[in-house]
Symmetry: D2
């Protein structure tokens, strides 16, 4: 049983912890928190061992009556790998500690590509990351782009990708961030940095992907409008390839799944924990091929699509399973994904 320490128990961290706990070949060694809030209390109630991420804050947990095992330094040496789920920018600073303690570590998409050995998406770079020490699981948006491009690339050659990202303003529990009413070009320069981020996973797209992004007042999901020029394909080919690609589902607006809100309702009705939809949802009606260019729209549940990727990344870095498709299948089955 591989021992996984989760550093930073927020939106991503708590999901990674639960996903690790569901796997047969790994276990949660502990989770770290910086504040004695309700998430800390629930972590302990779930049975996770809790450690103070910032040593001097340990007493705060005790004052609140939240059971705390120690600080991160009391546990880090036992870990086979740390999944760093701290806020963007912090992970990079933590790398020094991981290196000092000679523990492998996964960073998340809020960090820059340059600080790690390689960038992970299960479909594209499982093999490249095999046995490596410091790897970044790319962001929710990049993960969504990589998956759909994998499906398309499986049946045709990609000539040029244009993608527009309509991003959620904040996660659902974050009431501090806006916008309340307005659309924010973010960044206002074109193309956006999301294209190069995809290239960090799929180098062959260098110079072939152009992205732009706006932020809008919603919390539920991102949405992508995707246009991919290819050397030749058909709508049926694309649908069939999506059908075969793990972690992408198609949804039908006509059956009522006609907004990101309806897709979340679907995930709620499925009984998904925290309504997580780890799969990318592509609108069936939107899929079209005109002049060999693939058009489609997809919705990305930003809080959860990267979670199964983190699990596969652990297996790859710790050389636990050598076939990416086998790892994907193990993860999906343990987490109860649709496919």
């Amino acid at each position: 049983m591989v021992k996984v320490l989760i550093n930073g128990y927020g939106s991503i961290g708590k999901r990674v912890a639960d996903a690790v706990a569901m796997q047969k070949d790994m276990e949660v060694l502990g989770v770290t928190k910086t504040k004695p809030d309700f998430e800390a209390r629930l972590a302990v109630e779930k049975g996770y061992k809790l450690y103070a991420a910032i040593p001097e804050r340990k007493p705060l947990f005790e004052e609140k009556g939240i059971e705390i095992e120690g600080t991160i330094f009391d546990v880090i040496e036992e870990a086979d790998i740390v999944v760093d789920c701290t806020p963007g920018g912090v992970g990079k600073d933590n790398l020094k500690m991981y290196k000092e303690y000679k523990v492998k570590a996964i960073l998340q998409g809020g960090e820059k590509a340059q600080y790690v050995e390689d960038n992970f998406n299960a479909l594209w770079s499982y093999d490249r990351c095999y046995g490596k020490d410091y790897i970044r699981v790319v962001s929710c948006n990049t993960t969504g782009l990589c998956r759909i491009l994998y499906a398309i690339n499986s049946v045709t050659d990609i000539v040029k990708v244009r993608a527009v990202l309509v991003r959620r303003g904040a996660d659902p529990n974050d009431v501090k961030k806006g916008p309340i009413n307005g659309i924010v070009p973010n960044p206002p320069t074109l193309p956006s940095h999301h294209g190069p981020d995809v290239v960090s996973v799929i180098p062959e797209l260098e110079g072939k992907i152009f992205t732009s992004a706006v932020v809008v007042p919603t919390t539920l999901m991102h949405m992508h409008i995707i246009m991919v020029e290819t050397t030749g394909t058909t709508r049926d080919n694309i649908i069939e390839s999506i059908e075969k690609t793990p972690r992408i589902i198609t949804v039908s607006a006509e059956e009522g799944l006609n907004s990101t809100a309806a897709i979340i309702e679907f995930a709620r009705d499925l009984g998904r924990m925290r309504y997580d939809l780890n799969e990318i949802a592509v609108w069936e009606e939107s899929i079209n091929v005109v002049d060999n260019e693939v058009f489609l729209m997809q919705a990305i549940h930003q809080e959860s699509d990267v979670i199964p990727e983190n699990i596969d990344c652990i297996r790859s870095m710790l050389e636990m399973v050598d076939d990416k498709m086998k790892s994907i299948e193990m993860t999906n089955k343990a987490m109860g994904l649709l496919k």
Copy 2:
């Protein structure tokens, strides 16, 4: 095993179905749908027998490949009780059918009080509704008000209630309804109809309750600001009484539960199906008593607080359990409520 037919499988209906299925003393006879949408498909996948609410629409389900057992008229006579969860106003029209088929029926809060024999809240009117045929489970807001007033009334006498309801504009999956940006006095007349609705459950509050309501651009929860003049009490008394009252919990802003969004995050982290928080959440910090007047703020998960009430209402109307507290306990345990 009592047989329950759910007529109208929308936000409330699907939850009532799942809650009935969780009880040991009742079962879901079937559910009705008007449209062959994703909710219909999931109902069948869950194992519920599906019937067309509108007979002529039955073929639509077949066209979509959704297994349908027949129409409501094929099953209604087998039902011990129908829980009508159709949109506001439709339930009243359905009463004629229920009476014709001599089946007991529960209507929901979107219907007016005048059409039924009595109005149900488990704490206040379980006994009054015992054995009756046509009962209304009051709305989400009224249910929330009744619960907190029960807690207050348990330790002191209520002199006057003032309550302001800050209401969610639409349920999360309803993208048609606004407001997007604005506050709507609804109704613009004062006092609002919510006071009389509470009186339909608690007649002794006649002339003593004054409510007002606004609608705001949020989907997650309603919020109530409550001011109750009493003959005398203390903050500790109120907290203790809330502690003892079923289906009300206290939450601490200081521990991070500082918005309706954070409360929903809490329900998600608890692993609640569809993130339902059937319990009313009262902010601990908000509870105060000044000059014998109780002040507090509470959050109401509109989609789910009435669900356990529907279960208790079934038990009361079918004379299954004669002690309200026993029914409440059975329901809560089966549904996994915190209290």
Copy 3:
């Protein structure tokens, strides 16, 4: 002085009325209303003659003490032209009346292209519409696309247009419509109908324009992400051409105009009536040319960009000014546009 009757005094109608009143060569004959609301009251206070659009509702205005001159049938024969600003779909029905009374009429973008002789954008089809009787001023989105494509087309040849429209959910004063929280692919099929709508103005783009659209929870402005393959151009050429094109301005995110909300703030600070920004706003930072493909982002004030077009359309249909650029200049000057 040309006499203009405005039928339907809502968001578009009241602005058309004010814009007509500002011109030296035309006057407001009257405006019609269906309801005696605050807009009706203000119309009278402004000095517009008010007529009941629906004859049997005339007494309602009198009951409310709002001065009303008569019904539309009392005034229609005096009109040189009617600007129909009724809700989408109603304009088409009104055509019969206009034809019966032999009065020229302008319909708005909510109507379909097929019902009129041609489709108007001042830059593209002023000449085509010259002297015609029934013309449609295209929608706010189509107007925005036509303007920017005119600027691009002025310096290079357009090979293919891809545009993504991120649309406001409702106008600011419409609190009934959502979405409150969610992104709606609208339509969920690709390409969307916006491309053909542009083609109704610019036939040479047939088969060369692919649009898609989503609706988001904001009321202020639409936003377009535009990608135009050309036979060859440079960023400087495009900027220069935008500079020369009427009714498009560039804004700088770096100077604080970094969202649609900030652009509206700018219009407020300019002292614009109702904060109308009749000009399309293109983000300077967003303009880029890569491999002869122009990329840019623009914001569209849906309530007001079509207003100057309506004025020019009147001049064209009534053969008042034969040079489009002269009409544009007259309109812009009278309305105080930046350019």
Copy 4:
């Protein structure tokens, strides 16, 4: 002509500048900015002399080609009074400078009451502030409460005030702040600090006013639900008194003014600069008196209601007009208020 320096040219500052410029007995000496953004550019275009609020930032303006006269220290000695419109908390720090330069100063509602000599509302404390040196114009919410309480107090005695404030989350141009979807009890403790803030203006309400506040996802206006126990009054008395009180108007939901969004539409249609509604808007339908308790709902345009108060405050502090009603009338007329 009294010389007014505006320190901090943001939402409040730019409006104060424009309002000062409209008065016959005062003029804008200059305005200060910290950043060379579009607001700075427009200030210069309007003809205001611009000074760097932070001296070392002066070159930034020059780099951007924005004409700048100097720093605040080049102009402060010429001022008869400074209206400090810096962000909450900064004003207090600036007090030292104002005292050092022996210039009178007005602080805004984001500052605490304790730092100034007294707190200003034109109706309640004009006389008390007469000739004083350091005065705070209370916040938008407190101003709204003071006005309506003045109207009520004019015809009856106030026994107890209960008020619930439903606050806008951010100003319209602020896309950084949330909430996007959620209701935030702010503060979560009851009563809120708004009551004591009213008492800073109306000391006789000490112990008699209980407020609570929530923040919601809207940018347009705050809304107040107000309940005032009195020694005796009638609905007609209250309406009549509101009629007589300056800077409060009544609006009718039935005439279409049925949300804060509709009220803003009304202000836009009135042609108000930046759609400012300096008057408080009380819903006519909401006004009710039951058991001598006055109930009503009012909407507050947070960006602008304090602006005329700042003008009157200048007159009071500089002893320019000794009758408050005369100053109010002068201000209202110059600004074009409805009353």
